[in-house]
């Protein structure tokens, strides 16, 4: 039973981590996040569904077009819901991104339709047995892609010029600007990237969760909890925290009952916030004087 629960938790936790990675990228560069990240995941799944199942495109072009659309969405979110509020040091961006998420959900209901639809995947048809536990092969794909994306993001941040620019902006907007970095464009790029990650998550999760206008809501919330627990500035921390959170959730649900699951899960968030406000794997920011 424990193996089965760990596998369930692993798949679930990597879903959270995948969503949470998107929070990491924008927070690191602009101290803001797209609170509608869950809805961006939904948009990814819906667009992919519309192209792949609806319009009957081949898989690869569908995915590429979806990711392109999501990048555009990220730029749009940043432009209308974040940039206007960045200078005023207000948290209006928080409400603005949530509002965009609600709009996205309702647009999806109107255009995509109201029912949950199935996204075909040959890897989610038949469960296989691993170590005595049943698992859909597609579920194993989620943590693999999650870790791969984390490594990619970290490498890109450290090794490429654009990534260095992102980090410089993260460190100090004014200094970065003095070095000739276009801060505004960099933040815009961060939002595009974060949105693309949401798109990947959407396509990856669609066969497991089914495609529906409301599929992203819980994911977005749990993803944010995971980002907080892991430390929103640490991609590695987020992936680790996501997987741990998923496994803890599954084990608690399996041994203590589902009623206790959310109570313990979110109590954990509060505890982490109290004990280590920068997250389990984050680094306390030195206070700038």
């Amino acid at each position: 039973m424990i193996v089965q629960l760990v596998f369930s938790g692993l798949a679930l936790g990597s879903m959270y981590a995948l969503v949470a990675l998107g929070y990491n990228i924008t927070y690191a560069t602009s101290r803001t996040v797209n609170f509608a990240q869950g809805q961006s995941v939904m948009v990814g799944a819906v667009v992919a569904y519309a192209l792949y199942v609806g319009a009957g495109w081949p898989f690869v072009p569908s995915v590429l077009a979806t990711l392109l659309a999501l990048a555009a969405l990220g730029v749009l979110v940043e432009r209308v819901a974040v940039r206007p509020f960045l200078t005023s040091a207000s948290i209006a961006w928080l409400l603005a991104t949530i509002a965009l998420g609600v709009i996205a959900e309702n647009v999806a209901m109107l255009t995509f339709g109201k029912d949950a639809r199935a996204f075909p995947s040959s890897l989610a048809q038949r469960a296989v047995t691993v170590l005595g536990a049943g698992v859909y092969p597609h579920e194993l794909l989620v943590p693999v892609v999650g870790v791969a994306l984390m490594v990619l993001v970290e490498l890109a941040f450290r090794r490429t010029l654009a990534g260095r620019a992102l980090r410089a902006v993260a460190f100090d907007h004014d200094a970065a600007r003095l070095m000739g970095i276009d801060v505004t464009r960099t933040i815009s790029a961060a939002y595009a990237l974060s949105s693309v990650l949401a798109g990947v998550a959407g396509i990856l999760l669609a066969p497991l969760l089914n495609v529906s206008a409301t599929m992203g809501t819980t994911l977005g919330l749990k993803g944010f909890a995971v980002a907080i627990i892991g430390g929103i500035e640490s991609a590695r921390g987020i992936v680790l925290a996501g997987v741990l959170y998923g496994i803890v959730e599954a084990i608690v649900a399996g041994y203590l009952g589902t009623g206790v699951r959310e109570i313990l899960g979110f109590a954990l968030v509060v505890l982490v916030l109290l004990a280590r406000p920068w997250g389990l794997f984050g680094v306390a920011a030195p206070r700038r004087v």
Binding site: M1, Q4, L5, S8, A11, L12, M15, M109, G113, K114, D115, A116, R117, A118, Q125, A127, T129, A133, G134, V135, Y136, L208, L209, N210, S212, A213, T214, M215, T217, T218, A250, A253, G254, G257, T258, G259, E262
Partner: protein, 393 residues
């Protein structure tokens, strides 16, 4: 879907033009408004559409006969409650206070029905449930009681399911998986009671929330507890996840379900697994039909691009709503006025009516506000995406 919507729009326009014309001729015969407050969007949207179809077919028949109260046509207004109780309350108020509805039909979600209950008593307009099955919707201790139902009642369904599991399947250790909502609670009560009386109390009750992606922890607990059959209380999206998780953990166990799963695209979401679930319905458009059945199918074909019974999605919604609308029409006629309170009184004293599901003989009394009984339920399953009756053994 798209084409259906367009056809619908065209028809709607034609109908509107039609009504306009009649109003012009007959002068000042205001239409009588009835309302539907149901989930028209979300995971169970098909249920709302099905109910609307049943009501529309009945309304067309009534209007073609010349309407009610010597020549007033019936008109339907629809509000989407999105499965959200507070939106249901707003919608119910809106259709009664602004649209002057004399009766309000309800949709699939029991929490919404329960939340709207005080509104109907305050504004004195009858509610007629066409899907939501929570026991407390009709058995609510109010007098006079404004809540009626032409649909299943959880308490009766629970008895029906319990009897099937114990007597037909011969299982002794039922496990229950249900949604964490008032509808789930309503069934927890009923199943506890009926399995208890049959001498086989459930080995466990496991809950899930709407939108939960993985139900294996709950199922593992039931299996661990020794369950030899599972009873599922879920709507289509979550029901699909339950069945997929069950297949994942490799648990081959008889699965019996309440009918929430028939309100969405369960077969599309679960594929062949859908055929492993047996569930309850009040009506099936498959098999030999009465003349009423033939008439309804013909009307659905003419109006909604339905080709045959296999295209009648969420069929109980259509069947229940069709009969409910005719019963309400009889009550309006008997009350002699488009007045909520009088219609309510009349509903409790209707005579005989040959409906689609059965011939009703005084369907409602002051004590019994459920028109359908256990004898009206049938067991069905999915075969290649269609709902078909399970042959009785």
């Amino acid at each position: 879907m798209r084409r259906v919507t367009w056809l619908g729009l065209v028809l709607l326009t034609l109908c509107l033009l039609g009504t306009q014309a009649t109003v012009g001729f007959t002068q000042a015969k205001p239409p009588i408004t009835v309302a539907l407050v149901a989930a028209m969007s979300g995971g169970s949207a098909l249920s709302g559409e099905a109910i609307k179809r049943g009501l529309s077919v009945a309304i067309d028949e009534i209007n073609a006969r010349g309407g009610l109260l010597s020549g007033r046509t019936l008109e339907l207004v629809v509000r989407d409650e999105e499965g959200n109780p507070s939106k249901g309350v707003t919608g119910a108020r809106d259709v009664i206070e602004r649209e002057k509805a004399v009766a309000v039909f309800g949709g699939l979600h029991s929490p919404v029905g329960l939340a709207m209950l005080p509104v109907f008593h305050e504004l004195k307009v009858p509610y007629v449930g066409t899907w939501a099955a929570a026991t407390a919707i009709t058995r609510n201790g109010r007098s006079p009681n404004f809540m009626f139902r032409v649909s299943a009642n959880d308490d009766i369904v629970d008895h029906f399911l319990a009897k099937h599991v114990i007597e037909k399947l011969g299982k002794r250790k039922p496990g229950v998986i249900l949604e964490n909502t008032p509808w789930g609670a309503s069934n927890q009560e009923g199943l506890t009671k009926w399995f208890g009386r049959l001498g086989a109390p459930p080995v466990g009750f496991e809950k899930f929330n709407w939108g939960d992606p993985d139900m294996s922890p709950q199922l593992l607990r039931l299996r661990q507890g020794g369950a030899d059959a599972i009873v599922m209380i879920a709507n289509a999206p979550e029901g699909a996840q339950v069945v997929k998780s069950r297949a994942k953990i490799g648990w081959d166990v008889s699965t019996v379900s309440h009918w929430g799963i028939s309100g969405g695209r369960f077969p599309e979401l679960t594929g062949a697994l859908s055929e492993s679930v047996v569930f309850v319905q009040t009506y099936s458009f498959f098999g030999k039909q009465s003349d009423v059945g033939e008439r309804v199918i013909a009307a659905l074909k003419a109006r909604f691009a339905v080709k045959g019974p296999e295209d009648i999605l969420a069929p109980v919604g259509t069947a229940n709503a069709y009969d409910a609308m005719h019963l309400v029409a009889l009550a309006i006629e008997q009350a002699g006025a488009a007045d909520g309170s009088k219609v309510r009184d009349a509903l409790e004293n209707l005579g005989e009516h040959r409906g689609l599901i059965k011939t009703y003989r005084r369907p409602f009394t002051p004590e019994e506000h459920d028109a359908l009984t256990e004898n009206d339920y049938i067991l069905v399953t999915w075969r290649q995406g269609k709902i078909v009756p399970v042959t009785m053994k």
